[in-house]
Assembly symmetry: C2
Homo-oligomer: 216 residues x 2
């Protein structure tokens, strides 16, 4: 099994609301719930969590606020679900990369590609910012824990690389922080400066990570 390629996840660009449908939908409940989550993720990224009122969000879906509460228990829960959606995507990439064989460095790079795609995706912003928004301590802790899991698996990938010699000796903790930081930061600037596609960016990052800056 070679290092896995990044799946080209096609997200439906037009945020067509399930409420627009003329006929009753099969499994409408889950569909609508997902639509709420997705619309929220986009709104949060665009306007920020606090600037997005549930009235706005509902209006964007062509509904009124109380309707949202049929599908979701609270605003906080919406944010959490957005986080989970992003998390899932990253976990899947990790699963793939851990299962694959080949030098760990290559598997790390495959992960980086997937991670970059996730960060600039619809749920990327929520993943990064969920915990420092206006959330209860309980939810905050949960999120922190889940993030720590990702971090740990990423570090393990680096350690495996040091083990098999494909990555040179280094401080794996700091290296993981540096890698994660560079990638996460995409979530800030990508919207403004999208001259490159996510995977192109990932490849240039990888080149940099791989060989460093050093000239002569």
């Amino acid at each position: 099994m070679p290092a896995p390629a990044v799946k080209n996840r096609r997200e439906p660009a037009p945020p067509q609301s399930p409420w627009q449908a003329r006929r009753r939908l099969r499994d409408g409940h889950a569909l609508k719930r997902d639509a709420v989550i997705l619309a929220a993720a986009r709104a949060f990224r665009e306007r920020g969590y606090h600037k997005t009122s549930l009235d706005d969000l509902a209006a964007g879906l062509g509904v009124t606020k109380p309707t949202l509460y049929l599908y979701v228990p609270s605003k906080e829960a919406i944010l959490f679900e957005c986080f989970r959606a992003g998390l899932r995507q990253i976990q899947e990439t990790l699963d793939d990369c851990e299962r694959a064989d080949g030098p760990a460095r290559e598997r790390l790079f495959a992960f980086i590609r997937g991670y970059a795609a996730a960060i600039v995706g619809d749920f990327g912003w929520c993943m990064l910012r969920a915990e420092d928004q206006h959330l209860g301590v309980q939810m905050s802790r949960r999120i922190k824990l889940l993030k720590a899991g990702i971090d740990k698996r990423m570090r393990a990938l680096i350690e495996a690389g040091v083990e098999d010699g494909s990555i040179r000796e280094c401080d794996t903790r700091m290296t993981a922080f540096a890698l994660a930081g560079a990638l996460n930061w995409m979530g800030h600037w990508y919207r403004e400066d999208a001259t490159l596609k996510p995977l192109e960016i990932a490849d240039r990052f990888i080149d940099f990570f791989n060989r460093g800056l050093k000239g002569h």
Copy 2:
């Protein structure tokens, strides 16, 4: 002039409020204003901008809310001042590094050290997060502009390195983003995991930036 060392800025750890003073202070106004800014910066970093009410902030200084308005026109303005304080620190570092001589790579690394110190400093959080908080579009634009200035100067430093051969050919824009991202991310995790001092972290980052991951 060699690449400048990072000044060891000693910030007064105890947030002693100027209002505690028994006697009237010389230039008390500016002093108190600065105390408000600093206390706000710390509170914002600790609890977040929205979770910090002006009542809390005032109470922390041993005063009541309306008193704050003697020194500062609005909450938004406080955040902006925090941002500026952080910015100034970084700009000074940049000034130093641009003025210095020696290979540009070394000057870039000196900048990185200063930048790391600033990011984990009192105003680091505000610098990173100011723009995506609950701010008016006008202030948001101002901040974005100022940040773009930093980015530009940083990229220039990298380009100078490519010019003088101390940095290998690369996509300078992406490289700048990667560097900035890795450093900025410190603002997220440093509080939680402060086993290393900022300059130690900077040095490990620099080692990684310099030589990359590549093993055999």
